[in-house]
Symmetry: C2
Subunit: 292 residues, 2 copies
């Protein structure tokens, strides 16, 4: 495992490529926008940029994808010059995008027919985790394939778990996002209540961070919410995609996730108001702007 193709060199993919380079892999990248900062950084650190997608697929030991939406994943795998068509038999093809679990299974099955080893391996930890190489990597696929790819995963992540067969990595990521939706909405509703009652919100955070209400969302986003800082760590538009996938998946099992649905509705409203490019903490707007 030496030559790695990487498609999708953005906020997450960029630092992941750099960590693969640091670990000694020979990384070939393809991105639609060569001028992007992350692409420039990756090239400066030794990544080889290719103008043609097929050149980071053909001749590689593994091809990693980290793109935006399931439609992008589908295009890259099933489209013209796509991974399934272009990868050499025996190649490991790993989608790290947060994407549809069903699509992951579809890719796995099609890949198997073609002698490719497919894994779905979505991540958590955000751009900070991507930079630090401390991502959690949630992998689905065959045990043997997972083990073969461990050196790759270890270059990018800290907590690396084989969750089960194809699709299970994505399902785990869905569960993760469902938790975040509940937690962050609780934080925002609490802050909205506190502001309405005239509480000192700095004291509120100090008071509750050590207790049963503590959460990583509160820690990371609480101070941003109080400061009115809605810069994206994680885009609302991407969170909406994830929540929709999770709800679709739940509905298929006859499971109604009312809180997730409620949180999604709030975000859809914010998105319709033009806030889709803000960070998820901008959920507080839904509550603070109820009367405006």
């Amino acid at each position: 495992m030496k030559k790695i193709g990487f498609i999708g060199v953005g906020i997450m993919g960029g630092p992941m490529v750099c960590n693969l380079l640091k670990a000694g892999f020979d990384v070939h990248i393809y991105a639609r926008h060569k001028e992007k900062q992350q692409v420039q950084d990756a090239v400066a650190q030794g990544a080889v940029f290719h103008e043609e997608k097929k050149d980071v697929i053909h001749g590689m030991d593994a091809v990693l994808t980290m793109v935006g939406y399931p439609s992008d994943v589908r295009e890259i795998y099933f489209g013209g010059d796509g991974i399934l068509e272009t990868a050499d038999p025996g190649t490991y093809v790993i989608d790290m995008t947060t994407s549809s679990p069903d699509l992951a299974v579809e890719i796995y099955e099609e890949a198997k027919k073609r002698g490719l080893h497919a894994l779905d391996a979505s991540v958590t930890g955000g751009d900070a985790g991507a930079k630090a190489g401390t991502l959690s990597i949630l992998a689905g696929g065959e045990q043997g394939d997972f083990e073969s790819c461990l050196p790759l995963f270890q270059a990018m992540g800290k907590t690396i778990v084989h969750e089960g067969p194809a699709g299970m990595g994505q399902h785990t990521k869905m569960a993760n996002q469902i938790m975040i939706a509940g937690t962050l909405s609780g934080v925002c509703e609490a802050v909205a209540y506190a502001k309405a009652k005239g509480l000192d919100c700095e004291k509120l955070l100090e008071s509750v961070l050590g207790g049963a209400a503590a959460s990583r969302q509160l820690e990371l986003l609480g101070p941003k919410i109080l400061a009115g800082d809605y810069e994206p760590g994680f885009f609302i538009k991407h969170f909406i995609k994830d929540m929709k996938l999770a709800l679709e998946g739940a509905n298929k099992e006859g499971l109604q996730l009312d809180v997730l649905q409620e949180v999604l509705n709030h975000y859809l409203l914010l998105s319709a108001q033009g806030y889709g490019e803000e960070g998820t903490q901008a959920l507080i707007r839904y509550y603070m702007e109820q009367d405006s």
Copy 2:
């Protein structure tokens, strides 16, 4: 500050009394059920039991209350032989029950007329925090009164914050409970999703506990949820009381907390099904029993 009256020697009050005794206070207790284990434990450690409520109010430097519902608080303060009628002028009267912020203000104002120093000082940290003396104490009232009572609070808690004037301790507790409602519902919806999809839930917890979905609720209650252990650390019936108070408070400010309302609805359904005496983690029943 030496002689302390304590009313409400239950799961929380019992260990709080014991910590006051350890710190050298002379604690006089009143409880409706003398035979209760917590009362027996407190007496064994040196608390003086009184048959009459007024005997733990009159002649005390401070009177602490830790009871169940706002109606209990009202009765103990405003009822016959109550605190407002019976306490000596100059006494510190501190309600530590999670109760109505408006009632806390009402008590404060009436107490002031009678020369009493009232504080609302609800706590977080559960029975474990009460035993360990590591509660967070969220206090509302006058700054000077708060400072005078610090030795008491330090005997029972670790994080001790003066949140603002009367009622602000209770408001902080409400904000805390709002956060917990969102967080715990996120955890339960995620586990329900994971089970529906056949995920290995132990691996799920391992995968997400270090990341952005991490929370104290997940840490404390996740394993209980997986084990089907619904023993109460915190009763559903008490959480329902808290959520109702928080929603009433929000509505008064024209603030709609949709997620909290949704979570309350789920708990009300569980309560109607006879689960009010279970722990809050039994919220998972709402999702697991949707089809049954």
